[in-house]
Symmetry: C2
Subunit: 212 residues, 2 copies
DNA sequence: GTGCGATGTATCGGTCCGATACATCGCGGT
DNA sequence: ACCGCGATGTATCGGACCGATACATCGCAC
């Protein structure tokens, strides 16, 4: 998962570890808090060993300011290689079981702009299926086993069930949008900002509507 | 976390590993899928080594049916010890940072029936604070950095923000209930089942109300 | 009588986290 | 002029937990 996320981010621009962590936190803020350095740095080394990323020179040629005072050895900037882009495409295209758990789905979804429509649809439907299963499990427990559980546990299940139902509805809307036309945004009260991306699948259209 | 969950479950009745996993899945179904055996069995051994749980004889004395045909070595039933109960009380009473992440909060909440009210309140407020922080982070990204992100990422953030707001409201209600009176359940359309517990804090009152 | 799914215990490698350490930089306070 | 302090930045270590895998037994349907 981390591997996919790093490859995806470096595809937008070269970065060093610290920056990568911050961008990751911004992009996946809805899913997980922030990646740990204890995972990040070893993974970077692994990706480098595999030839999917390389170190890039810091402040390359443009300006030769304060060249070497105390040997000036600091940030290590990484950039993705051609093999890395292939690897990313491969990872983003194939869906294993871990693609549909909370974190896996979040990462895949965050890079939907670099994913073809068929794959997007497949992932959304897989996720929906998984959430529906969880929902059924919760309904079962709340139905059949309710008297075995205390009131707090029941309240927890109800809240979880609520979240499941809500996510299924969200996914339904995304799937519908995906199938006919291509608007990744679900109409809401607020409005949606413009775009400023480099290369990507065809930019999705904007749609806005009021909700009473 | 697993340690706390196991100690809590074994406090209700002795169980073997497989059973423990199923009960855990039922109790925490809203939070996480199911605990892996790769975590469960090592943890059980660790708890046993620490003296917090012990092996109990299977089918103890009541019936001496088919005593030994093929040496009959199967299920290993564990029960909690007095030290184990102390350990549980200690773990449930103290709150570290991990108490407020998704899994940690879920486990603590699932055992609220064995938690005193002051601790319940402390945990609910800590969780609320954490979710509020996440919510603010998402609002920031959706506000200040919106034009840097593609439409899919934005949609993900919006969905996450929605979930945060919803959970904060849920926690508010629980906190209010906790402070005055003691009804762990938030009024909903459905109704709440009875109780059949052994020992626990004073059984919470039932309340029901219609929502239009 | 035989296969097959549920029950049941157990290990192994790998991913990721949390704590910790350490070094530099810019800034405000005194 | 100096100091501290928070942000930036790289790095490691032990431990928690997962996913795959192996293997054995039981009951029951075909």
């Amino acid at each position: 998962m981390l591997e996919l996320a790093i490859l995806g981010l470096l595809q937008e621009s070269p970065m060093h570890g610290y920056e990568l962590r911050k961008e990751l936190a911004a992009k996946l803020g809805a899913i997980r808090a922030a990646i740990s350095y204890g995972s990040l740095y070893p993974t970077l080394r692994r990706l480098q060993a595999a030839g999917w990323i390389t170190e890039a020179a810091e402040t390359p040629a443009t300006a030769e300011e304060v060249p070497a005072l105390t040997s000036r050895r600091g940030r290590v900037v990484y950039k993705i290689t051609a093999e890395g882009k292939e690897r990313f495409a491969q990872l983003i295209g194939q869906a294993g079981p871990e693609t549909y758990d909370d974190t896996g789905f979040g990462v895949h979804f965050a890079f939907f702009a670099r994913t073809d429509q068929a794959t997007r649809l497949r992932i959304l439907e897989g996720r929906r299926r998984k959430i529906e299963e969880r929902r059924e499990g919760l309904r079962d427990v709340l139905g059949r086993a309710a008297e075995r559980l205390d009131a707090y546990t029941l309240e927890l299940q109800r809240h979880g069930l609520d979240a499941c139902e809500r996510e299924v509805r969200w996914l339904e809307e995304l799937i519908a949008n995906e199938r006919s036309g291509r608007a990744p945004t679900i109409p809401r009260a607020g409005m949606v900002g413009g775009r400023r991306d480099n290369d990507s699948p065809p930019p999705p259209g904007e749609s806005r509507k009021e909700r009473p």
